[in-house]
């Protein structure tokens, strides 16, 4: 008997030493939780959480025509992405279906760091290579590099205490080099939790020291290592979609409520024609969030109905620690995709009342005003439900 070898990150021994419950995730042996998903969730919301997300792929797109390549392959307008700034964007196929969702960091005038979902790493690199234009180099630099996410309200203070980068001054979606850790080591104010936080892209030989330092610095103020379990509950609470779960290559940006990432006026990009067509024809389904007053956790595949008629399906769900109720996301008929609509959620042949609510379900106090300003700058309000 041979077992399929699972990939391990440079922090594997740390997870073992911390007694993590491990799980297989897209071929990687990753921590599911260390103590408890809810405890870890709470640490991120109230203090600090440290994640090993080295399974995510890191791809460098560089060269004279790097901007042109990204503009042709992704939905955002990269001429508008400033140096040391990040952009959440989508890569589409000709049918307008989402090939992947990505964060693209402009780390040089014609140099971009692209973070891809680990399940899509090989196919994304192949896609990028197949469709790149002019003088563009696509390099998968994942090997030998780690990513640590440090998320939560205490993240900036803890990191400031031992990084020379001016962490607290880094703007949301900004990125800066960490010069002490090698040529391509960076820190960015991004994350996948809905809380303030940072992601650190460092060579493997710095990962363990950094991990240990962040944990020991933050333990006394409530910091915890966080597994993939809480990573999922945090992102659902923040209304963040997960590729492969909430969207795939048969879902368009408009259907999944990510129309705000689409610069539809760009000359051309893969999938544009299909999106223009869909805008003219209208949607047949729309992605929404819903909540239950109490009851079971909505799981992927659960049916949503109105008066006994099937109107949609759940793609993600969780129990929200911050809101103390079950939350779900999924697709329903567009006419019902309005806050306050009452739906029936079927779980194990029983029906529970669910109410459509605005996404995100939860955001940090004070974040609302900032977010709406950003959304206006991006011209996002029209398409983002």
């Amino acid at each position: 008997m041979t077992e399929t070898p699972t990939r391990r990150t440079a922090l594997h021994l740390r997870h073992r030493a911390l007694n993590a419950r491990m799980t297989e995730f897209h071929g990687w042996d990753m921590p599911l939780y260390y103590s408890s998903i809810l405890e870890e969730h709470k640490a991120v919301r109230e203090a600090l959480g440290l994640f090993d997300i080295s399974h995510m792929g890191q791809v460098l797109v560089s060269g004279r025509d790097a901007v042109a390549t990204l503009d042709a392959l992704m939905t955002s307008d990269f001429t508008q992405v400033g140096l040391n700034r990040a952009c959440y964007t989508l890569m589409l196929n000709e049918q307008g279906g989402i090939v992947d969702d990505l964060i693209v960091y402009r780390i040089g005038e014609s140099e971009f760091l692209v973070i891809v979902n680990c399940g899509n790493r090989e196919s994304d690199v192949a896609w990028l290579c197949a469709h790149s234009t002019g003088q563009t180099e696509i390099t998968d630099i994942s090997q030998g590099r780690s990513i640590l996410a440090v998320q939560g309200p205490r993240a900036s203070r803890i990191l400031e205490s031992f990084l020379d980068a001016k962490v607290a001054g880094l703007a949301r979606f900004g990125i800066a080099p960490i010069r002490t850790m090698g040529p391509e080591a960076c820190i960015a104010r991004t994350g996948y939790t809905g809380s303030d936080g940072f992601e650190l892209f460092v060579p493997d030989n710095h990962a363990q020291k950094l991990w240990d330092a962040i944990l020991s610095e933050s333990r006394s103020s409530g910091g915890l290592p966080i597994g993939l379990g809480a990573r999922d509950t945090l992102r659902v609470e923040a209304g963040l979609r997960l590729y492969g779960t909430d969207m795939n290559d048969a879902t368009t940006p408009y259907e999944v409520g990510l129309g705000w990432t689409v610069a539809i006026h760009k000359t051309d990009f893969i999938g544009k024609a299909a999106l223009v067509r869909q805008q003219a024809q209208g949607l047949t389904r729309k992605f929404v969030g819903f909540e239950l007053a109490q009851g079971p956790v909505p799981r992927q595949g659960c049916e949503l109905s109105v008066d006994g008629r099937r109107v949609g399906v759940v793609t993600s769900g969780t129990y929200s620690l911050m809101l103390q109720k079950p939350l779900g996301m999924g697709y329903i008929e567009p006419t019902l995709a309005v806050s306050g609509t009452k739906l029936s959620l079927t779980v194990r042949n029983q029906r529970y009342e669910a109410t459509v609510v605005k996404l995100p379900f939860w955001q940090p106090a004070g974040a609302k005003s900032k977010l709406s300003v950003n959304a206006k700058q991006l011209g996002a309000e029209k398409t983002h439900e």
Binding site: L32, I37, G229, T233, G295, V297, Y319
Partner: protein, 129 residues
């Protein structure tokens, strides 16, 4: 691992407390530790007739839902409604306030199929290796 001596057990990690006319059922310390963050419990309707080994209740943690099986055949006489509001009782006190339901047994010799505390302890040890 707490395995109270006065209880009987199932292979699927339920415990059984024999009282006069009924048996109380819950999940063991091992099961609640495996589940971790319990956020929902679905209980059987009082009066429902159940067969030994039948899935009659559900405990949900953040990550997944788990069936709870009737350790003996009989009629459901009570369900722990406190779990509706506070399912975390299963984590906090699985052998006490976190009990799930009670059955009035219809077949007395089914108890022979249940595990003694020492047999259940042995099963956990075997699982761990």
């Amino acid at each position: 691992m707490k395995i109270p001596a006065e209880l009987l057990y199932t292979k699927s990690h339920e415990w059984v407390r024999r009282e006069s006319a009924e048996v109380l059922v819950g999940i063991t310390e091992h099961a609640q530790q495996e589940l971790r963050d319990v956020v929902f419990a679905e209980l059987p309707a009082v009066g429902r007739v159940v067969a030994q080994g039948e899935a009659v209740a559900v405990v949900e943690s953040v990550k997944a839902a788990f069936d709870i099986y009737a350790p003996v055949s009989g009629r459901i006489t009570r369900a722990n409604v406190a779990l509706t509001k506070t399912p975390q009782l299963i984590n906090q006190d699985c052998y006490g306030a976190g009990w799930m339901f009670a059955i009035n047994p219809s077949v007395t010799d089914e108890f022979a199929a249940l595990l003694s505390p020492s047999d259940y302890g042995k099963q956990l040890e075997t699982q761990a290796h």
